[in-house]
Symmetry: C2
Subunit: 301 residues, 2 copies
DNA sequence: CGTCTTAATTCCGGAAACGAGATCTTTTCA
DNA sequence: TGAAAAGATCTCGTTTCCGGAATTAAGACG
């Protein structure tokens, strides 16, 4: 029994899907399948019942889920307990709007419980600006979106800034175009029947990915909005397509079913300066890693 | 952080020696060294202080020790909890005298706490007889000593019986010749200055290994005794050399320091019939595996 | 004070495990 | 009924892991 298998198990259990879980933990589906099978063979019990393409926990799987959560929590606690000096002081964290909404709440709650002496300063912003702030020491670290490598050339200064920083993938988001309800399904930007694209600030990587995608076939204007709620409201008017990751869309239980189109996976990176990590940073880093692939809702523990 | 690394860590912590720990968990010392170093790097803290050739836990190592024990216990509990039907009924276990004395108490205590519905029947005997009893279904499983392969030819029927059974190494014993205090240290059987060898029954593998060793240079008679206490008492008379594993010798805090000579490592195997495992057997097997390499004294939990 | 022994570490080659992609099968949805 | 999607299976290249040999360092003993 391996802790990494348990992490994978938790992801599958909370997504009820091998494919989703694979994305969540940053692996390939075939790998997830085999690790689950190994775990089942090791425990000599079947954890999931595969009826059709749904993965639902068996009764044994349910009881194991409880232990799996406790095991991961205990491992994290052990990790933190051996840290020679308890972190304290201030940690300045930059984050994208979307990450703050969907993935951070669970991690931040846990972090606060573990290290009440650290005061966390959260700054929201676009990936570009955040990266620059980390470089200039206005922030200790930031969660930003990795620009697809096809976009690297068109913004070489951003690319250079990233190279000067240490980085590590922590989440994978499924970036979506959200269409008004009733809009016919689309294959490319040419099929869009809206007047504009709704997104956040210009420095936002998600926005730039979407604009890049739209530019190939049509010339839509982008209307800039301040929040994802505003974007959704704008989509509801019928004449706008919104840009946001699936995790954010899932979060706001929107009354109507919306039509979506996938722009593909986008990694969220934790970036920080080399050789300059406040003691609280390592603790934050570990809590984030442990949150990887977990359900957005807090683990019941 | 890997559960097998933690198992290795526990062994090193309780033996304060990588060589001993390597034997206890059935690995090679270099491997143990590497795994400990990996663990230390992963946790970014040093767990042991290497002053000279002693491995002593650092303060951080001490705190990690607590978590390591809890982690292993929780993993074992998880394993048992998913077992679809709680084992019950009877499990007939055969064991060598020595294993019953040194290794089993901790495991049996834990097993009883976990599965009070199983009534364990313990039978003591020599490896040969135990193997035969498992084959004939007089026992469900047994803990026996693996005869060195150089001895395989001279007792081919025992060898054939073992081949018919499933087997798995669970402990490694350090087999000793125990000499009377004051006896000069020896390099081979030729240096013995005693009148006889004290051991258990003829079917006992340890006895046969020792007789094999003694035969090469001298022709000592073997005096048969009923227990390890009797053997030690006999050694104390000054005219006998005893045969027993180190774990047993360590157990009886004998007043005088005794001179010993190593006959080498001997594996203890758990043997059982293929395709015939009572539900309680799997549970017993798992508890035994978890006990592997742990300190003889019960883990403080 | 040197030599001998024992223990830990380092180094290296073979073996096993692992992860990614391609392919196959089955389910579901249009 | 056909197309799309998801899970399982297979293969292959890579990484990791383990065991043995060589190396280094620390005590033991004369």
């Amino acid at each position: 029994m391996d802790l990494s298998s348990i992490e994978i198990f938790l992801a599958v259990a909370s997504d009820r899907s091998v494919t989703k879980a694979a994305k969540a933990v940053g692996r390939v589906p075939s790998n997830v399948t085999t690790r689950i099978q190994q775990l089942e063979e090791d425990l000599d019990v079947s954890l999931f019942s595969r009826d059709g393409k749904k993965m639902t926990l068996t009764r044994e799987g349910e009881t194991f889920l409880g232990y799996a959560n406790r095991l991961m929590a205990l491992a994290l606690e052990a990790r933190q307990a051996v840290r020679p000096l308890a972190p304290s002081g201030t940690l300045r964290v930059g984050t994208m709007e979307s990450t703050a909404a969907s993935r951070l709440p669970a991690a931040l709650t846990q972090f606060n419980q573990m290290w009440p002496d650290v005061s966390l300063h959260l700054t929201m912003g676009a990936s570009r600006d955040l990266a620059r702030d980390v470089l200039s020491d206005a922030l200790d670290c930031a969660l930003i979106a990795r620009p697809p490598k096809t976009m690297g050339e068109e913004d070489s200064s951003f690319d250079a800034e990233l190279k000067a920083l240490e980085m590590e993938p922590v989440f994978v988001e499924d970036l979506l175009i959200v269409l008004p309800s009733g809009h016919p399904s689309i294959k490319s930007a040419a099929d869009l029947r809206v007047g504009s694209l709704a997104a956040l600030e210009p420095g936002c990587t998600y926005r730039r990915i979407a604009e890049n995608w739209a530019r190939k076939s049509s010339a839509l204007p982008t209307s800039e909005l301040g929040s994802y709620h505003a974007i959704l409201a704008s989509v509801a008017t019928g004449n706008t397509a919104g840009v946001m990751p699936r995790s954010v869309l899932d979060l706001m239980h929107w009354p109507m079913p919306v039509q979506t189109h996938q722009l593909g996976p986008v990694e969220t990176l934790l970036v920080y300066r080399r050789n300059d990590r406040p003691s609280a940073f390592n603790a934050f880093h570990e809590v984030l890693s442990a949150t990887k692939g977990r359900d957005i809702r807090l683990a019941t523990n």
